[in-house]
Symmetry: C2
């Protein structure tokens, strides 16, 4: 009760889907929300499971994962604070299309799925903003397809690191440090390659001063060079 009351309106009032709302509406939405903590490694929801809730990540990082029949894992995306997740109802699904696991300790709010339609009808701008989010995720997915179909492993890994650095890093004196634990294996699951190849690439890049990396840690020290690797056209050898 007291923990519910303690949810501050500023927590969510700046987040896109809620940005255009009146203070009272935000209050209402918060009152309907349940906050929950997940510790690193915990599963927030599972692929194929009935989507009984949708979530807003307030703090921490979440990995969205799909698994093949053969047991291979693919990391579809990373969710950072301020993003909605598990929004199956938005796209007419009753079931989650992927699993979500907490990378570090996370704080989320969640609502029962049946409230989705209420939100969409009642709160001006909520629908448009979330559909914009959906649209962005479609574009991301399509770009990912384009990359997998046309680019070399080196470029794909370069792009993946660039995106992560832009999406979720802190700037240190070394450069842009990706601010959640990230293994070679993780990177390989984002790019459709093997942890060995990623390891070799990182080693090579470290020698060229493009990145610094350690156990579960990657720092981009020269974004310019990384970008030029990502943009390299493999066909342009004329």
């Amino acid at each position: 009760m007291s923990s519910l009351r303690s949810l501050d309106e500023n927590l969510i009032s700046h987040i896109p889907p809620f940005r255009k709302l009146e203070r009272v509406d935000v209050r209402e939405i918060l009152d309907a929300a349940t906050p929950k903590r997940f510790s690193a490694g915990q599963t927030i929801f599972e692929e194929h499971e009935t989507a009984e809730r949708f979530f807003l990540l307030l703090d921490g990082h979440v990995r969205v994962i799909r698994t093949t029949a053969g047991g291979d894992q693919v990391i579809a995306r990373h969710i950072v604070s301020g993003e909605l997740m598990g929004i199956a109802p938005a796209i007419g699904r009753t079931t989650y299309p992927a699993s979500a696991v907490a990378i570090d300790d996370c704080l989320v709010l969640f609502w029962p799925t049946n409230l989705w339609s209420t939100f969409v009808e009642k709160y001006e701008g909520f629908a448009t903003e979330t559909y914009k989010t959906v649209g962005e995720r479609i574009s991301e997915a399509n770009n990912h397809i384009l990359e997998l179909a046309t680019q070399q492993v080196e470029q794909r890994v370069a792009r993946a690191l660039m995106r992560l650095a832009i999406q979720s890093s802190r700037t240190t004196d070394e450069g842009m440090e990706i601010d959640f634990p990230l293994t070679r294996q993780n990177i390989s699951e984002m790019t459709g390659t093997t942890l060995y190849t990623v390891s070799r690439l990182l080693s090579a890049w470290e020698k060229q001063g493009i990145v610094t990396s350690g156990r579960k840690k990657v720092v981009v020290t020269d974004m310019g060079k990384l970008k030029s690797l990502a943009d390299l056209d493999p066909m342009a050898n004329s």
Copy 2:
């Protein structure tokens, strides 16, 4: 005028987004629509172009294409009759995310984009149905990513053909014939490989009685075998 009046309500009344509508509503929607023909090879809309219209394909087949900076093409999906396309407004975009070209002669209806919000508000079930469509396309895209990241070329091509055969084929005495012109090059652009590799695969499969193929033509003669190729787990060699 007379061509407009000639649009029959049965044309669209059975199509998911319109299925739940009253006859009058269907009439209204048809009256707002412009019909247009495209001949084989014509571009219906182009990637990055401002999305001024959304379309319903009434007859024919459309290829949805994305092009990389390096000039490579990727076929994102095929649209068959009865499907909406160019629905950028549904996902909060003002611009088309891909190009659409007519594979054979096509008949489409289109509406100005600004009618989208009217449709969503005014017609019960239109929103839910279209968001379901959006959801299906997201799933498709994610499956495609999974495939590209984890499967061998042979499986990807097998799957692509399976899907096409299911989605758009006529049954002849030979088997399921994909009912629009489809080249080796096209298949390679759907699966992220080269036309040479596709050609070799088709030749091999033809010898095994799985497919029959000719110029711009593919017939699946043994869906069961094709499916077992698609499902083959490359890791399962123990």
